[in-house]
């Protein structure tokens, strides 16, 4: 049974490698930090109104942290949705589900393989964005100590570790978005609708976050969890937003993933 999941997973990765949308998403994850750094170097300005924005010329390690803040609005949700919203719907588009499901793998194995492949892609996208932003930032501004949100200064190696840890925490809402994309991909059976729907859902939550009178909801919005990593950049480390992010993202992601699995397991593969 496990062999079946691994086989599907391996082939889902091979299929992703053969599709342009994969390179579009991963290419955007690499290109945006480079464009950002080029703009910093050539323009000379800095984004003073966001955390770590004022330090981007002092240390390259501030660049990935600023990117995480900017990317949460639409960039990373879109990159995630590009694959999550397509991974099941593409089988409907190509009418290949009927072929897959008449081989020797069970439906739950096919679904698990697809979910794992989506996760792998999302992790890879964040890793590429983080690595490119860190590398480009260091090239532009040097490998220097980082000033935390508490005003303390940490060494460059420690700062690099905190950047890596921040990327991991940032993955939590990204994976929740991926689960929602997977659900919409399974339910809509249409890549375009699922990708746009996932992005719209993400943007809607951000809209709710700026509506007056809904402050009580903020800690429980998925969009808020994109800032949870900032707890790592405080002295001492503030674990509350990180712990909250774990269960809030699970509260969004697990029902979506369960719903997607149930729909996938029970659906009739009736259309060509």
């Amino acid at each position: 049974m496990r062999h079946g999941v691994l086989t599907v997973y391996r082939w889902e990765l091979r299929k992703l490698r053969a599709q342009k949308r994969t390179y579009l998403g991963l290419g955007a994850a690499a290109a945006v930090p480079i464009i950002f750094v080029i703009a910093l170097v050539t323009g000379g300005g800095q984004p003073n109104d966001v955390a770590f924005g004022r330090y981007v010329h002092e240390t390259g390690l501030a660049v990935p942290l600023v990117l995480l803040l900017f990317g949460s609005i639409w960039l990373f949700p879109l990159i995630t949705a590009l694959v999550a919203g397509d991974i099941v719907a593409c089988e409907d588009r190509n009418a290949t589900l009927k072929m897959l499901l008449t081989r020797s793998v069970e439906r739950h194995q096919v679904f698990a393989g697809k979910a794992l492949a989506t996760t792998t892609y999302a992790v890879l996208a964040i890793a590429i964005a983080g690595a490119v932003a860190t590398g480009a930032g260091i090239l532009a501004s040097g490998f220097n100590p980082v000033t935390t949100l508490s005003g303390t200064v940490v060494s460059a190696p420690r700062g690099l570790f905190l950047v890596g840890a921040s990327l991991l925490v940032y993955l939590l809402p990204i994976l929740a978005i991926a689960c929602i994309g997977l659900l919409l991909s399974t339910v809509f059976r249409n890549s375009g609708a699922a990708i746009v729907g996932t992005l719209m859902f993400s943007l809607l939550l951000q809209l709710v976050a700026i509506l007056p009178g809904l402050g009580g909801l903020h800690p429980y919005l998925l969009s808020t969890q994109f800032s949870a990593w900032q707890g790592l950049l405080r002295t001492p480390t503030d674990w509350d937003p990180i712990l909250r992010s774990i269960w809030v993202c699970a509260a969004y992601g697990i029902p979506a993933l369960t719903g997607a699995a149930l729909v996938f397991l029970r659906r009739d593969v009736a259309e060509s």
Binding site: G4, T96, T102, E106, R266, V269, A270
Partner: protein, 321 residues
């Protein structure tokens, strides 16, 4: 399980709201059969096949493939292969890569047979090309190749020659004949009578989701009986003679001329021949004429309600056989 027939369908029903796409279908496909599953478009053939392959859930009834239920696990598809409607592939992968994928999903053993099955379907030279560049006929053949990777004992093919040019249809039929000669049981869904007549030993004819006939082609033809075509020098007089002759029934005008009638036995035909000569209407042509499968198909699918008696009768014959 070992003695279970390749396909055993009992009381199969699929409803979409008030509409019964498949309505109480019973089928038995025996080992070695090339079984024609016939019906006009929309009769429920493809829906039946989807239920047989576990792709959709029946509203009622059961399907057993070699005694196993495909709704419970894909393990029921062991030794079973095929496709519904057109076979489909990932257009951005090559033909060989698609086969590698399907072989991997089957456990990997089929990978060793990829070159062999590509040879069988005559696609070896194009195997490295992406499927998006394949013609319809090539995709159909690749579909057969992907099915053969499973070393099937039972093949379910849904209108495999649809959309092929005459040469492609000929090649596909030859391929199916070759596979049947190797001992593979085949269920062939089709609405092409010549194809079924050429390939199949048994058929089920489905109409509006219900089986109108199940049995051998020979029995189906026998049920239709033999009619005779008669041309004389005076058809009006011949008709009066026919009407007065014992054992001559169902007399009607034939096109462009002459009469058609049915006879209870050959003696009645001989007696008619003598009576026509004596009455002054010499016979120009008197020939027996068996209904074509196409005519029988139209009788069963367009005329009257589905004959459950016919199904029962044919099963009785099979049981005796």
């Amino acid at each position: 399980m070992a003695d279970s027939p390749p396909i055993e369908v009992r009381g199969l029903v699929k409803r979409y709201g008030e509409i019964a796409a498949v309505d109480d279908v019973d089928l038995t496909v025996n080992p070695g059969d090339v079984f024609g599953y016939l019906g006009p478009n929309g009769a429920g053939k493809t829906t039946s096949l989807r239920m047989m392959l576990g792709l959709i859930r029946p509203t009622g009834g059961s399907v057993r493939l070699f005694g196993r239920d495909p709704q419970i696990s894909v393990a029921a598809l062991e030794g079973v292969a095929g496709f519904v409607e057109s076979p489909t592939f990932y257009p951005y992968l090559s033909g060989r890569a698609n086969l590698e994928l399907y072989a991997a999903l089957d456990g990997g053993e089929g990978r060793r047979r990829i070159e062999q099955v590509l040879e069988t379907v005559d696609l070896r030279d194009r195997a490295k090309d992406k499927v998006k560049g394949y013609s319809h006929g090539m995709r159909q053949r690749l579909g057969i190749a992907s099915a053969l990777l499973r070393s099937p004992r039972l093949l379910l093919l849904d209108e495999p020659t649809t959309g092929l040019d005459p040469a492609g249809m000929r090649d596909m039929r030859q391929l199916i004949r070759d596979l049947a000669d190797r001992g593979i049981t085949v269920l062939l869904s089709s609405h092409l009578m010549p194809e079924v007549e050429e390939l199949c030993n048994r058929v089920a004819i489905i109409r509006s989701g219900r089986v109108a006939y199940e049995g051998s082609l020979g029995e189906l033809r026998a049920r239709a009986g033999v009619s005779y075509r008669l041309r004389t020098t005076d058809d009006a007089l011949a008709r009066r003679v026919c009407e007065s002759q014992p054992g001559i029934e169902e007399i009607e005008e034939a096109r462009p001329d002459g009469l058609l009638f049915e006879a209870s036995n050959e003696s009645a035909v001989a007696g008619l021949s003598l009576a026509l000569a004596e009455s002054g209407a010499p016979v120009l042509e008197l020939t027996p004429r068996r209904a074509t499968l196409e005519e029988l198909f139209f009788q069963l699918t367009e005329g009257g309600a589905p004959s459950r008696e016919g199904v029962a009768a044919s099963r009785e014959i099979e049981a005796v056989a």
